[in-house]
């Protein structure tokens, strides 16, 4: 075990964990408003492909990221419309989003499959100049990475220290109480969906633009579902999501590293990890979920919709 291994592990953890964190934050906001969205995978895919395509087309990765966020938000508006206005099943509406996101991402990304870009510029955190070689590989990340934790802090502040966040949480806990207090439930739910879409689009874009620096069909590989697990694992709390995202990121990175070293685990089995992990979290934490989940969510997770 040398520095290289740990360096790769650390950077892998962070690069895997950051998009996960963004998506999870979006999901936390949406679930705090009482909506479970199975279409997160579709949002991330749409963000990844739109982001990449726009980056190539415009020659500027930040335009790609912006467009990806927009794409995610627009997509999630469809979900919000179905759930809020048409009172459709949340789970089925999420499926719609999943189909749409996967289809649209495939179409948009088709001309760009396999193309490569330079990715996002990477910066070093000032003051972290230890051994120069170490610093270069281990502590050099792009802006979105550095903004990840501040974003989590912002989401926490928004949810727990503002009037808006209080109303949003009230909608997710007990919509009739929120309504009795004069809150505009529909508007609050829409706003939550929009934010979730923005964050999800950014998450997907980071994946294709900064990490892989290319586009492949279906490249998100189940991260949208891991985000669902993370929301529960972090008990719907934005700050705990940081820990969860890093943990998951680390676990998967470790496995990938082992595989790269020829540890001989079939790639098929490794690719199962996100889904099995998600199932495991949902199962193990089903008890805590009933207690800690926003009031209006419990039924959806374990029973009827």
């Amino acid at each position: 075990m040398n520095w290289q291994f740990f360096g790769d592990l650390l950077s892998g953890t962070i690069m895997y964990g950051v998009p996960l964190l963004y998506m999870t934050l979006g999901a936390v906001i949406e679930q705090r408003a009482g909506m479970v969205n199975l279409g997160l995978e579709g949002i991330m895919l749409a963000g990844a492909s739109t982001g990449f395509a726009m980056s190539v087309a415009a020659g500027n990765p930040w335009i790609g990221i912006g467009m990806a966020a927009l794409a995610g938000a627009l997509l999630n508006l469809i979900y919000a419309y179905l759930v809020v206005n048409r009172k459709a099943s949340q789970l089925a509406s999420g499926m719609t989003l999943m189909f749409l996101g996967s289809g649209i991402s495939a179409v948009i990304g088709r001309p760009y499959v396999g193309a490569g870009i330079a990715g996002l510029a990477r910066y070093q955190l000032p003051g972290l100049a230890l051994v120069p070689w170490v610093t270069r590989t281990m502590f050099s990340y792009d802006l979105l990475v550095y903004l990840a934790v501040p974003s989590a802090l912002f989401v926490w502040w928004l949810l727990f220290r503002t009037r808006y966040g209080l109303s949003l949480r009230a909608v997710g806990e007990n919509p009739s109480a929120a309504f009795a207090a004069g809150r505009r439930i529909d508007l609050l739910k829409y706003s939550a969906s929009i934010m979730c879409g923005l964050l999800g689009g950014i998450a997907g874009a980071h994946l294709s633009i900064a990490l892989a620096r290319t586009w492949t069909e279906g490249m998100t590989g189940g991260r949208g579902y891991i985000a669902l697990a993370l929301v529960i694992f972090s008990k719907w709390h934005p700050l705990k999501s940081i820990f969860g995202a890093l943990l998951f990121g680390g676990a998967v990175t470790l496995q990938l590293q082992l595989q790269a070293k020829g540890a001989g685990i079939s790639p098929f089995l490794l690719n199962m990890i996100p889904y099995v992990l998600t199932l495991a979290v949902l199962l193990i934490w089903s008890g805590a979920r009933k207690y800690a989940a926003p009031g209006a969510l419990g039924r959806i997770y374990s029973g009827e919709d």
Binding site: L91, T96, F99, G103, M272
Partner: protein
């Protein structure tokens, strides 16, 4: 009431066709072709030639089964989106049977494969049912996740211990070929196979059970008000697991049938999303067996037409998901169409 329902159903069929037609017309126009002529050709081919018609019927078979695999659990209030995974596991277990017992006579092989396909898919779904019955996870989430695990299991085996080492085998990894005794028989000088008979029988049985028998009434009660059903003494847990098992088994039969009748060997990723299409069909058909048949036909026709028109050249197959999303959207949004009261 019946009159209104009929109108509603016809309208849904119409909407589905409209969406597909519009998308295809757009695609054709963009490619510089004449949509009207192309449609006329397609229709005359499908309904004018036996080959054309039988191809559509053949494509219907997995759709009928996966749609039933969604309709059945919906009667007890469950949402099964795991048809995809269940059909893969049915195909997997059937292939295991072929590989392990390659020399059985046809008379034994066929029922054996049917059994394996059913059990493979059924067990896969029953697990999700069990989690739901215990109140741990919603079956929608479980089956959705398991959909992604099943093809990976297939991949593991097909790229690994089941990989065919026959000379001249295609570049893609696949299992050894099924012996002729293990292939489902075909009918009418076409590719329509035994699966059609199985599917239609199952649909008829489903209708009978729901409408006439005590179990159907119990299931409707459980789906309609689980709390009341519990207090009336109905055992909800066993029904949930049992229904999921049967539903998964039906989807498993679809997988087994595709592999045995159509391809003759197991390939990774052989399903173009039949499970999800079945989900769509069942929702659009409102879970009614007769409507499932007609909807499956229409969808099979749409997909057939798509490949005939070569629209799909240059377009990724995943694009079909967009069509499906639009159709599902229409069902979920339940628009107020003129003349149809909700």
């Amino acid at each position: 009431m019946k009159h209104r329902e009929l109108k509603n159903t016809l309208l849904r069929h119409g909407i589905v066709l409209m969406i597909a037609l519009t998308a295809y017309a757009a695609g054709l126009l963009l490619a510089g072709k004449n949509p009207v002529a192309a449609f006329v050709d397609t229709v005359s081919f499908t309904f004018g030639t036996w080959y054309g018609f039988s191809e559509v019927c053949m494509r219907m078979i997995p759709l009928l089964l996966t749609a039933l695999a969604v309709a059945l659990p919906s009667t007890v209030g469950l949402i099964n989106v795991g048809g995809e995974g269940q059909l893969y596991m049915g195909a997997w277990l059937a292939t295991w049977g072929v590989i392990t017992f390659p020399n059985l006579p046809a008379g034994v092989f066929i029922p054996f494969l049917i059994l394996l396909g059913f059990v493979g898919g059924g067990a896969w779904a029953a697990l999700a049912g069990f989690f739901r019955a215990r109140g741990w996870i919603n079956e929608t989430i479980t089956t959705l996740l398991m959909n992604y695990i099943a093809p990976l299991i297939i991949g593991f085996f097909v790229y690994g211990s089941w990989r065919s080492r026959e000379p001249g085998a295609s570049a893609f990894p696949q299992s050894i070929a099924f012996p002729p005794a293990a292939r489902l028989p075909r009918f009418f000088n076409s590719r329509i196979h035994l699966g059609m008979v199985i599917a239609l029988i199952l649909l008829a049985v489903f209708w009978f059970i729901m409408e006439k028998t005590k179990w159907g009434l119990k299931m409707k009660a459980i789906g309609g008000n689980p709390e009341a059903a519990r207090r009336l003494g109905f055992e909800i847990g066993p029904y949930i697991v049992g229904v999921m098992f049967i539903a998964g088994g039906i989807a498993g039969l679809a997988g087994m049938a595709e592999v045995s009748a159509l391809y003759g060997r197991l390939r990774a990723g052989f399903s173009p999303g039949y499970g999800f299409m079945g989900f769509l069909i069942s929702w659009m058909a409102g879970g009614k067996p007769a409507t499932i048949v007609s909807m499956s036909f229409i969808l099979a026709f749409i997909f057939s037409a798509g490949s005939l028109l070569q629209i799909t050249q240059g377009v990724p197959f995943a694009a079909i998901n967009i069509l499906m999303a639009m159709m599902l959207f229409v069902v979920l949004a339940k628009p107020r169409l003129p003349g149809v009261k909700r």
